[in-house]
């Protein structure tokens, strides 16, 4: 159990190896894939051992309901300085409200996190194996697996973190990885924009999360879960009306969860996230990342349970999201988009469960959902792989005979998701519905209403899932295949191409040379060649080098040549395993018998308001099963038997159909309304700036110009005058002195002697005066002043 710190570190190691060394020493694909899978496999093994040891360790009395914190890699991460916590209720910390800020970086496992670690690593392992086959031949193979490993590291940090801040780090890391992986096909515009969208919207959610963290710290003075769990006991449960500190924290956390788990207001990024490769969608946008929100709710359940208002909000939003997502999923064409919306609705269910206090049920649904949703996605992946990246289910059909294994495994998870009896989906979904029906948190009427909405959603889920299965597997074949009746697909293709031609150059006959493409890229380059530029004929060389340049573009719709053959075993193996678990997973939480998951999670989640599973619940469960079964048959009937009904229904239920296909106009609302609003606001700001703010500098510029002119003139006429004057004086003076320099040697000698004479007269005037006064009486007598004594 001591090696739990290694669980997150191993994927990190994998990331480093693949990320740094793969390109430099150009590892072969096998090596890169091997490294990635090995690390995740080791992590999985460690988490299993941790699970076993922990379950034994937590049995001992003294560490009851106490998480095991790993010794190694346990250091004070941020320390120093005092933080001022101002809790408005009775001060929890007795001495004063100044608390040392030091946050540990330590990995811990307790009942909840070990469970999460288990299914994250398990699902991750399977998806890694699947990805090796799926990504085969794609450039950037090493990069893809590096990101995947990084994602695993982040997710495990999020789950195994011992305090809120570490979870937050994992939270951000996961967001980053989703951004990187969605935008894996860098050169493709949609992928890049989708990744940006996902990242930004996650950030919005993270804002709430950060505020919640600050709230937690300012009230409890610490971020350790253990501490918070102990300190939160002192806080009363805030009734529906009041919105106290607990509700504030809960609100923050909830906003974070909605952002991450794509709930009602912030769900738009998930459908677009499908632009990434399918394994990514499977791992991140089905099994692990999106469930982080539920993990957060489960982890901080003691906070949520203390604010009934938030519980209500969660429940309502959860059910609403479920319903809306389900309705949109009905009319979607893209196989991955349908699965995305189904994920959103299932998440809605989980939130509904948590909202009504059944956190355990929520977590249980997370686990089961992880299995069958991952399986569905991988199945879709292998379908797309086989169909040479064709994602539109209306174009598929009849794949039953081409992809037997995929079909069988998908049937299992289809049944699971529809909530048919023995499979996992039934147990978890119905438990949630049961708990909502008989919740005691709110007024029973609210519970009943929520249940009804959930009931409806379950039915719709069954409908669109069967639609999906029908259109892809059971309906008649709608693509060009060797054995297909030639011309059918051909016309549609040509006709599709024709309208393209009309658009481009009006009537020029275009030859569509379909060469036996060895790799997808070759085919792709032809099609892009054909679709993008409208030349009469195209030469192979030009297209070839264009292929090299944009070899990264994602597989786009292309006319299939060979029959869709079954994906290699490396891809189908995970499908089988997942399908098996999708079937079996349900039994860990049987409501009737020994509810293992209930007991396992009880120390972490003390859901005090729940009641035992009564006979009413059983009846309700059977009713929902029946309801979803009929809906499934209806879908089967419409889409397999007589396809035209679909069009009639669509026409008849025009408004509903429009509503659904346009995703409840929610995207338009955001993209159009909100953006234009912001633009208008910006223009306003621009105007204000131009007139208001710019006036000041322009004014001052004016003043300085005036002053400079003034000083310039003063300087030119005043000061320069003086300077020139001195210049003039020196010139005049020099003329005077110059006459003196005659250049003749003797003149200079004369001057010297004159100097000498003057010296002599000066020094000896007394003597001269005495001697010659007799002969020249004119010599003035100077009475030498007596030298001072």
């Amino acid at each position: 159990m001591d090696l739990i710190w290694l669980i997150p570190i191993l994927p990190l190691l994998g990331f480093l190896i693949n990320g740094l060394l793969a390109r430099r020493f150009n590892f072969s694909e096998k090596l890169v894939g091997g490294v990635a899978v090995a690390t995740v496999f080791l992590a999985f093994v460690l988490s299993v051992t941790a699970f076993v040891n922990y379950s034994a360790w937590s049995k001992q009395p003294e560490n009851q309901a106490k998480p095991y914190i790993s010794k190694t890699l346990n250091y004070t991460w941020i320390s120093g300085g005092k933080a001022f916590i101002s809790s408005n209720t009775t001060p929890i910390t007795p001495e004063n409200s100044l608390v040392d800020l030091n946050i540990q970086w330590a990995y811990q496992i307790d009942h909840l996190s070990v469970l999460y670690a288990l299914f994250v690593t398990f699902v991750g392992l399977l998806i890694h194996i699947f990805a090796i086959g799926y990504m085969h031949g794609q450039t950037g193979f090493g990069r893809f697996f590096a990101y995947l490993n990084l994602f695993m590291f982040m997710m495990l940090t999020l789950v195994l973190g011992s305090n809120l801040l570490m979870t937050f780090v994992g939270w951000e890391g996961v967001g980053l990885c989703s951004y990187l992986l969605i935008g894996f096909y860098m050169t493709h515009k949609e992928a890049a924009e989708a990744s940006k969208k996902a990242f930004i919207i996650n950030r919005i959610g993270d804002l709430g999360f950060i505020l919640a963290i600050i709230g937690v710290f300012s009230t409890f003075g610490t971020l350790e879960y253990q501490e918070i769990a102990r300190l939160v006991q002192n806080y009363p449960v805030e009734a529906l009306g009041t919105f106290g500190i607990m509700s504030f924290i809960a609100l923050g956390l909830f906003i974070g969860a909605t952002g991450k788990s794509a709930q009602f207001p912030l769900y738009i990024w998930l459908p677009d996230a499908m632009a990434g490769p399918t394994p990514v969608s499977a791992l991140i946008h089905a099994a692990t990342m999106v469930t982080a929100g539920v993990y957060l709710l489960a982890r901080m359940n003691f906070v949520f349970q203390r604010s009934l208002v938030m519980m209500l909000i969660i429940a309502i939003i959860g059910s609403l999201t479920a319903f809306v997502a389900a309705t949109i999923a009905i009319t979607q064409k893209d196989i991955k988009k349908i699965l995305a919306y189904s994920t959103i609705s299932q998440l809605g269910f989980m939130f509904l469960g948590c909202g009504v206090g059944a956190f355990v049920a929520g977590v249980f649904h997370v686990i089961t959902h992880a299995f069958f949703k991952a399986q569905l996605f991988l199945g879709a992946g292998s379908v797309i792989h086989a169909m040479n990246n064709e994602q539109d289910i209306t174009r598929m059909g009849g794949l039953k005979k081409y992809l037997p294994i995929t079909h069988k495994t998908m049937v299992v998870s289809w049944l699971a998701i529809c909530g048919i009896a023995p499979l996992a989906g039934f147990w978890s979904k119905d438990e949630i519905l049961a708990k909502t029906f008989s919740t005691t948190l709110f007024h029973p009427a609210i519970g009943k209403m929520l249940w009804f909405l959930g009931f409806l959603t379950a039915g719709i889920t069954a409908f669109y899932m069967t639609r999906l299965m029908a259109l892809t597997f059971w309906s008649e074949q709608k693509f060009l295949g060797q054995t297909a009746s030639d011309g059918g697909e051909e016309e549609s293709n040509q006709e599709a191409n024709k309208n393209i031609d009309q658009k481009n150059d009006g009537g020029s006959f275009k030859i569509r040379a379909v060469t036996p493409s060895t790799t997808n890229t070759e085919a792709i380059s032809n099609t892009t060649e054909a679709t993008t530029n409208d030349i009469g004929s195209f030469n192979i060389e030009e297209s070839k080098d264009k292929a090299e340049r944009i070899n990264l573009n994602p597989p786009i719709v292309s006319a299939l040549v060979a029959d869709p053959k079954e994906s290699p075993s490396i891809m189908t193996l995970p499908l089988i395993v997942l399908a098996f678990f999708a079937a079996v997973a349900g039994f860990i939480g049987l409501p009737v018998g020994y509810n293992w998951i209930e007991t396992w999670l009880s120390p972490v989640i003390n859901s005090f308001t729940l009641h035992a599973f009564g006979t009413v619940d059983i009846i309700l469960a059977l009713v929902t099963m029946a309801w979803s079964g009929t809906m499934a048959y209806a879908a089967y009937h419409i889409y397999v038997k007589n396809p035209h009904i679909a069009e009639d229904l669509a026409i008849k239920l025009k408004p509903f159909y429009q509503l659904s296909t346009n995703k409840w106009y929610w995207d338009d609302l955001l993209d159009v309304k909100l953006a234009s609003l912001i633009n208008k606001f910006n223009d306003l700001l621009g105007e204000a700036d131009k007139h208001g703010v710019d006036a000041i500098p322009n004014g001052s510029a004016l003043i300085t110009r005036g002053v400079s002119i003034l000083s310039g003139s003063m300087d030119r006429y005043g000061l320069d005058l003086l300077v020139n004057l001195t210049g003039w004086f020196t010139r005049a003076g020099s003329v005077l002195v110059r006459t003196f320099q005659t250049g003749f040697l003797n003149n200079y000698a004369l001057v010297m002697v004159v100097g000498l004479v003057l010296i002599i007269i000066g020094l000896e005037y007394q003597a001269i005066q005495e001697l010659y006064s007799q002969y020249f009486p004119a010599i003035p007598k100077i009475i030498a002043t007596p030298a001072p004594k």
């Binding site: 003749f744 004369l750 002697v753 004479v757 002599i760 000896e764 001269i768 005495e770 001697l771």
Partner: protein, 193 residues
């Protein structure tokens, strides 16, 4: 310091010779004549030095000054072959120059007379110093008995005034190089360089 009897006569003789030849020198027509006259004044001054027992300086004076410098002067005069300056011997500032020197003379004479009045130069010179008497000590070389002027100067020159001596040698070196450089003709340089 009192020259009496024969020495006084010699002094006056040499003094008059020096001054007369000096005057003739500055008024001599041809440069060579003035050079000759200068040589004679210098020889007269050398004689004066001898009177004052400064033999070494007298010897040096004649050897270097007369034998060297003035020979050089005569050389240069011949090179420059200054003709007889019959017409303009004096520059225009003759009058001013003459008057000025006259005043200078007056000034100097006044100074000298004035110093004479003061007690700076007592007329009566003390008894001649002992060393003057020639001691006939046998082991000394005969000339010792007369006067060690040269020896004394030699000793002082190499003990007290060594630095000026070295600097003087340096000055001479510089002068030689300067003279060679100045007097050398371009053509000569070309051949020897």
């Amino acid at each position: 310091m009192k020259l009496v009897g024969l020495e006084a006569v010699l002094f006056y003789l040499l003094a008059v010779v020096a001054i007369l030849f000096a005057i003739f020198m500055i008024t001599a027509r041809s440069a060579v004549h003035s050079a000759l006259l200068l040589i004679s004044t210098l020889v007269a001054t050398a004689g004066l030095y001898l009177l004052v027992h400064a033999e070494f300086v007298a010897g040096v004076q004649i050897l270097i000054y007369v034998g060297g410098v003035l020979v050089l002067f005569i050389f240069v005069i011949m090179l420059v072959n200054a003709k007889e300056e019959d017409n303009k011997m004096f520059t225009r500032q003759l009058l001013i120059g003459g008057a000025l020197t006259f005043f200078l003379g007056l000034g100097i004479i006044a100074i000298l007379l004035q110093t004479q009045k003061g007690n700076f130069f007592t007329l009566a010179s003390p008894a001649p110093p002992k060393i003057e008497q020639a001691q006939n000590n046998p082991n000394l070389s005969p000339s010792h008995n007369i006067s060690q002027n040269t020896i004394k100067i030699g000793q002082e020159l190499y003990t007290k005034t060594v630095l000026p001596f070295e600097i003087a040698s340096l000055v001479l070196l510089v002068a030689i190089i300067g003279a060679v450089r100045l007097a050398r003709e371009r053509k000569q340089e070309k051949i020897y360089d």
